[in-house]
C-alpha cells in the first residue's frame, strides 16, 4: 500500500466500522442487516462477504438491505429512507430481527438513527454504532456489534460449556481455527455452547449467558469480554492459543478453570506436537529468516519458538528463505504454517 501513512498515523489504516460490524451481523441467521447510507457502501461489503463466503464454501449471500441514500437524501436528511427500509426489512419472510448499521455519510448529515430504530416495526430493531470511519476502526465496529447483540440476551442458568467469542469471520481459515479450539476443548470433554457469532441463529443468542467460560478470538476483543463478564458474570480467556507452548498453556488454563485434571490431555497434545516436529525434521539446520513486516508480536514469538524447536538457523534476510508468519492457532495451525515454511524453503 503506497499511502504514505506516517507511523504516527497508523490508526488511519484501521478500516471501516461498517465492515467490522457487518462481519458480525451477517452471521446472525434469521435477521436482515440494514445499512443506512449510499448503495456503494453496501456493495463494497456485499462484494467482500461474497468473496469471503465463497472461500468458506457457502454460496448463499447474507441479507444486506441498503437505504440507498441519494444526493437528495444527503441534503434533506435520510431518516425517512431509513424508516422505510427498516419497514421493508421487518416484513420479509422469516425475519426475527432487524440489525441497523449506519455509515459515515449518515454520521455526517446527523440522522437520528436510534430514534428511528425505537419506533414499532413488529420485530426487534437493534441499532449498532458503526458510522464508517467516524465511529472508529474495523475492530470497533466488530466490538460494537457484538456488544449490541449481547445486549439482546438475558442472564440464564449456566452449564459446563464454553462460548467462542468474536471469531474473525472474514479470516480465510476461520473454520479451521474454530475446529482446532473445539478439538482442544474436546480433550477436556468440554462442549461449545454457542459461537458468538458465526452462522448463529437469532434465537441461539439467548443462550449466550449459559456458558461458564468465554474464549475470545484475540486480545482486541477484551472490551467485549469485559462487557460479557459484567452482564453474565462469565470470565474469559483473552485469545485463541498460538504456537507450541501457547497451545499447551491454553489447555492447562482451561483445565484449571474448570477444575479438571488436564494431565492426560496435555500428554496427548505434547505427543501430537512431537510427531509434527518429526515430520518436518528435513528443515533442521536450514538457514531462514522470518517475515516480520506484517507480523504481530505474539505471532513472532510463537514462530521463533517453533524455529528453535526445529533447530532452524536464522540467516541474513535476503540471503535465505523468508518464512511467512501468521497467527497459527493451536497445533493444527502450526502444522499448516510449517507446510508453508517448507514451501518457502523449496520455492
Amino acid at each position: 500500500m503506497s499511502s504514505n501513512p506516517l507511523p504516527a498515523n497508523s490508526s488511519r489504516l484501521g478500516g471501516c466500522t461498517l465492515t467490522g460490524a457487518i462481519s458480525v451481523t451477517s452471521h446472525v441467521r434469521d435477521t436482515v442487516t440494514v445499512v443506512h447510507g449510499p448503495k456503494g457502501c453496501s456493495h463494497h461489503n456485499v462484494s467482500l462477504l461474497h468473496a469471503s463466503w465463497l472461500e468458506d464454501d457457502r454460496a448463499v449471500l447474507p441479507e444486506l438491505l441498503s437505504s440507498g441514500l441519494s444526493e437528495k437524501d444527503v441534503i434533506f436528511g435520510g431518516e425517512e429512507a431509513l424508516r422505510r427500509t427498516i419497514g421493508v426489512a421487518a416484513t420479509k419472510e422469516g425475519v426475527r430481527a432487524v440489525l441497523v448499521l449506519s455509515t459515515c455519510v449518515v454520521g455526517s448529515i446527523g440522522d437520528d438513527v436510534t430514534s428511528v430504530c425505537s419506533e414499532e416495526y413488529g420485530v426487534p430493531v437493534v441499532p449498532i454504532s458503526s458510522a464508517g470511519f467516524l465511529g472508529g476502526t474495523f475492530q470497533d465496529g466488530m466490538n460494537n456489534a457484538l456488544v449490541a447483540l449481547a445486549g439482546t440476551a438475558s442472564p440464564c442458568d449456566t452449564n459446563r460449556s464454553v462460548n467462542i467469542i468474536g471469531e474473525m469471520n472474514l479470516e480465510y481459515e476461520v473454520e479451521e481455527n474454530y475446529r482446532e479450539v473445539e478439538r482442544l476443548l474436546a480433550l477436556l470433554n468440554l462442549p461449545v455452547n454457542i459461537r458468538f457469532v458465526h452462522n448463529t441463529g437469532w434465537e441461539e443468542l439467548s443462550r449466550l449467558g449459559a456458558a461458564e467460560l468465554n474464549i475470545l478470538r484475540g486480545p482486541a476483543l477484551v472490551p467485549v469480554g469485559e462487557y460479557l463478564k459484567e452482564r453474565f458474570d462469565t470470565p474469559f480467556i483473552a485469545s485463541f492459543p498460538q504456537g507450541l507452548s501457547g497451545t499447551l498453556s491454553f489447555v492447562r488454563e482451561v483445565a484449571a478453570f474448570f477444575g479438571i485434571d488436564g494431565q492426560a490431555a496435555l500428554r496427548e497434545e505434547c505427543r501430537r506436537q512431537e510427531e509434527m516436529l518429526d515430520q518436518f525434521s528435513d528443515l533442521r539446520r536450514v538457514p531462514v529468516s522470518l517475515e516480520r513486516v506484517h507480523s504481530g508480536e505474539d505471532e513472532l514469538l510463537a514462530a521463533e519458538e517453533l524455529a528453535a524447536a526445529l533447530d532452524l538457523v536464522m540467516g541474513t534476510p535476503g540471503t535465505c528463505a523468508k518464512l511467512p508468519v501468521n497467527a497459527a492457532v493451536g497445533t493444527s495451525g502450526t502444522k499448516r504454517m510449517l507446510h508453508r515454511w517448507r514451501r518457502a524453503v523449496h520455492a
Binding site: M1, S2, S3, N4, P5, L6, N9, S11, R12, L13, G14, G15, C16, T17, L18, T19, P38, K39, G40, C41, S42, H43, H44, V46, S47, L48, H50, A51, L54, E55, A59, V60, L61, P62, E63, L64, L65, S66, S67, G68, L69, S70, E71, D73, V74, A81, R84, T85, V88, T103, C104, V105, S108, I109, G132, F133, L134, F138
Partner: protein
Amino acid sequence: MPECDNPLWPCAMTGAAACLAGFDGLAVVIHGSSGCYYYPMTLLHAPLHGTFILEDDVIFGSEDRLMEVIGSLSGTGKKIAVITTCVPALLGEDIRSMLADHDVILVDSPGFAGDVETGYQKALAMLDPRTDPAAPGVNIDGACLFDPFAAGNVQEVRRLLGMVSVPVATVFSSDLLGRVYHAAPFTIGTNADFPSGVGDYLGGMLGFGAIRETFARLGDSFGNADCTPVFSELEQQEERVVRACDKFLRRYDPPSAAIFAGCSYALFAAEALHTYLDAEICCIGTRNTPCESRFPVEETSSLSRVRDLIVSHNPDLVIGSSFERSLHERGGFAGIIPPLRGRVKIYPAPLAGINGMLSFMESVLNTCMDTKP
C-alpha cells in the same frame, strides 16, 4: 424504490478510481477514509494512494492531511489526481481552492453521486482528452480496470489491428497519461458502457457482426489499410463457432438464458446466444440504465431482483457474475462481469474481438454440456 438489497454494482468513486488508475503517469489519491480506500484497492489491483482521514480531519478540516499526502507524492514525477469520497464532499470544504497552488486534477465523484459508470465518465472528462490530427492509428476505448476482461480485450484488439497494419494510438483507460492529450482522430470500442467520446467512433468489437462492420469502416477511413486478413479470420472462426454450436444442437435443445451484465456485454451475450445457439433469451437484467434491445430487458441492481428473475424463468443458462452463480448453483453459468469470485483467473481472456467471441462461446457450450442430464 430507493432501498436496495445487496446492491450489485460499485459506486461512482470506484468508477473514477478505475478510470484514473489505468493511466501510467498519474498518482491517484482517494480522499477519504481507509474503508473507502480498501475496496477499490482490492478490486482494481492498481496502485492507489489514500488520505485515510480520521474524525479529527472531519472536525478540524481535511486540508492539512490532503496537503501532507500530496506533498509526499510531489517528488514522484507523476501528475496527481484526487478523487473525493462521500464525507469530504459533504464537509463543504473548498477542495478546489486548497489545491489551487498545485498541479492536481480534482474529480468530485462521491459514492452517492451514482454508479461506477458515472464516476468513470466524470474522471475521464476531468482528464480533458484531446485528439491530435497528426496522431497515427486508432484509439481503443472501453478498457476499464474494473472489467476483468479489459486487459484481454486490449490485447485482442491490438492483435487484430496489427493484422491490418493500423497502429494503436491511445488506449482509454490503459495507457501513458501523455497519450491522453494526443489521441488519434478515430476510435474503436471494446465496451460501450465505458466510452471515451474521443475522436470519430468507428464501432465496437463485441461480436462477429460488429467486428466486421467496424473493420469495414476502418478500411474506409484508412485508405492504406488492407482488412482482408481480419475478414478472412472472421470467416474461418465464425465457421468454427457455427460447427460447434450445430453439433451441440444435434444432441440438445437450445438453452434458455438469463443474462445479467452492463448493457454492452449483456447485449453481446444475448445476440451471440440467439444467433449461434437459437437460445431463448428469457430476460436481460442490466446493472446500469437499460439500452434498447429486441429481448426483454430491465435494470436489475439488487440481488433479490436477480433471484426473482432466475426463479421465475428457471433458465438453463445464467450469464453474469459470481453473484448470479451463487443463485444458480446447479445450472449452467458463464461469468462476464465482476465479481468473478471462487474461480482462479490468471490468463487475460477477452470478450471483445474474434478470440473474445470464441472464448465466450466455448465457455457457454462447455457449461451447457456439463449441466445436461
